[in-house]
């Protein structure tokens, strides 16, 4: 019970501390922190418009966070979600290119499902490669997944600026617009696209899978103790690959949805750092898919508020990155306070001082 309380209190304290530090930081740049905090809140959750903007950004964050959280439950630190996202976007563009426009898709749903499947396959296989390199070649998955992300970005640029390029896109090389039937629309009367629903459902399904199914439980055993898992006969390597596949598929879908619902064509605007922000979201959620949902909304909100800070106070667009970085550092530091550890920590600090 007490640890459940800590699970909530420590991240909240870390966020509050990050906001305080961020206020101090902007004060040093000569701004009023009260204005900044107010605008952060207004831009994120102030009115219906900012809520829509926030949720729009939260959708890919949920999915890229799953790309960190699910492999983390199998004991891996995968940080290459950006690569899976970019390849998911590329897969959507390739699909649009490969399907002749005359193939009018019977229903918009079929088109959306096709885009998501292609994107999931591309992203999933890409991250699974990192898992395979770890299990069968002994290569650190943190490094390899990030290297693969850079390779994926190179592939994306090659195709978007080469074979898939729409010759009429001059300043920002882009692919052709997606056919109407492949696009993903908005939910009801809102401006929020269906990607949000996909993100929430993916998080819920992932949580249930990890908690309730034998394979999900096995993945957690592998993450807890690889050797014990092997001793009781679990196919550890295959479970690791499965976790990577699912995580990568989630991030791939994020990319596909960004293309099909937001950009409607693939170009460099897709590479916006959702993959990296997803790492932070997953760590802050302590790799629990359920907790990813509120954390992604919070950081989607900070992202949405970034443009308001830029417009009203003339702050650089990287302000949000600074806030994210501070929050990340503090959430990790807060681990040291877990389980009343601060008492023993104080004692040892005292000992070192003496």
């Amino acid at each position: 019970m007490r640890s459940a309380l800590e699970d909530i209190l420590l991240p909240v304290a870390a966020i509050v501390a990050a906001l305080l530090l961020f206020g101090l930081f902007v004060m040093l740049s000569g701004l009023n922190p009260l204005d900044v905090w107010r605008l952060l809140f207004m831009g994120a959750f102030g009115d219906a418009y900012s809520w829509q903007n926030t949720l729009q950004r939260a959708a890919p964050l949920m999915l890229t966070a799953l790309c960190v959280a699910i492999p983390a439950r199998a004991g891996l630190v995968v940080i290459g979600g950006e690569g899976a996202l970019v390849l998911g976007g590329l897969a959507a563009a390739v699909l649009a290119h490969a399907l002749p426009p005359s193939v009018a898709l019977s229903s918009p749903l079929a088109g959306s499902v096709l885009v998501c499947l292609a994107a999931a396959a591309a992203g999933g296989l890409w991250v699974m490669l990192a898992g395979w390199l770890r299990q069968y070649r002994g290569i650190n998955e943190t490094i390899s997944s990030l290297l693969l992300a850079y390779v994926a970005i190179g592939l994306f640029k090659h195709f978007v600026e080469g074979p898939l390029r729409d010759p009429s896109s001059l300043n920002t090389p882009s692919t052709y617009e997606l056919a109407e039937g492949l696009r993903i629309g908005v939910m009801g009367a809102s401006d929020v696209h269906w990607g949000l629903a996909v993100g929430v459902v993916a998080c819920l399904v992932a949580e249930l899978w990890l908690r309730l199914t034998p394979s999900g439980f096995s993945v957690r055993v592998v993450g807890g103790n690889m050797r014990a898992a092997q001793l009781v006969g679990l196919p550890a390597s295959r479970l690791v690959l499965l976790a990577c596949l699912l995580g990568g598929a989630a991030a791939g879908v994020a990319g596909g949805i960004e293309i099909a619902a937001v950009h409607t064509k693939a170009n460099a605007a897709l590479i916006a750092g959702y993959g990296y922000a997803g790492i932070l979201v997953a760590f802050m959620a302590r790799h629990s898919p359920l907790a990813v949902i509120p954390v992604a909304i919070l950081f989607g909100g900070f992202g949405a508020a970034g443009s308001l800070l830029q417009r009203r106070l003339g702050m650089p667009d990287a302000s949000v990155l600074v806030l994210q970085g501070l929050a990340f550092v503090l959430i990790l530091a807060s681990e040291a306070l877990r389980g009343g550890a601060w008492r023993t920590w104080l004692r040892s600090a005292h000992k070192v001082a003496v």
Binding site: T142, I143, L147, G162, F328, V329, E335, A336, A341
Partner: protein
Amino acid sequence: MNFDDTLIFLAGILGGALRIGVPFLFVSLGECLTEKSGRINLGLEGVLVFSAMAAFGASWLSGSVWVGVLAAALCGGLLALLHGLLCSLPRVNDVATGIALMLLGMGLAFYFGKPLIQPQAPQLPAIALGAWSSSSAVRSALQINALLPIGLLLACVMAWVFANTRVGLLVRLVGDSAQAARALGYPVAGVRIAATVVGGMIAGLGGASLTLFYPGSWNEGISSGQGLIAVALVIFARWSPLRCVGAALLFGAAGAMGPALQSIGIGWGYHLFNTLPYVLTLVILVLTCRPGAVIAGSPGELSAR
């Protein structure tokens, strides 16, 4: 491809290796020192970007390029200090902290770097290795960064310090067995923090060579994973500073492939050739790593986890 093109291409690769290899060299030396003490600092990517910005800014504001170099080393050391301190807390994982510092370093660099995108800062002097050639393309390709000799010297000094001095031995001891170091009464955390900070300062010099030498400007895409490649590069160099030199030049050459091909008019696959360093890193990792096996030369505390 005629003779001239071949010459320009080869000069482009060699010059590129010497130019692009310099940041790799410094970051890998910094990472080598950090890892020798038993910690991995993935945050050197953030250190690299942050110190690149600091170097450019300080050089622009002060008008002296060496002030910029100093600022880069200081900023790199500062960010690494944060890594060192955080990792000394109980239950704080060095890999996760590295990722956090990567994001924080980039955020800070982009924040403070906004006004630096336009201006021109004083640049490091160049050493003209291509003076013998009559071809201007070759001459310009072989302009060498003045920090390169410093990096080479540093690699030799580090190798000597690790092998022959008390300080070097202490760092290696802490990296190989924290228990043994503790038993002998040495402050493990203190040594690791110091090694991380000095490693960050060395990596900061890599940042300086990114912005204070050709092409010599600050932009947000200044580093794309060089800091992380350096982590893999240290594995490839089997934690030897001298082998880091060769590895850094190899990676520089791989990175120079795209621009060198473009300089002789081959534009196809520019982005694909630019992924060569990453692919090369992966290939090298595949060749050097074995599942369940410890690589020769690896600090004991790194493989213990």
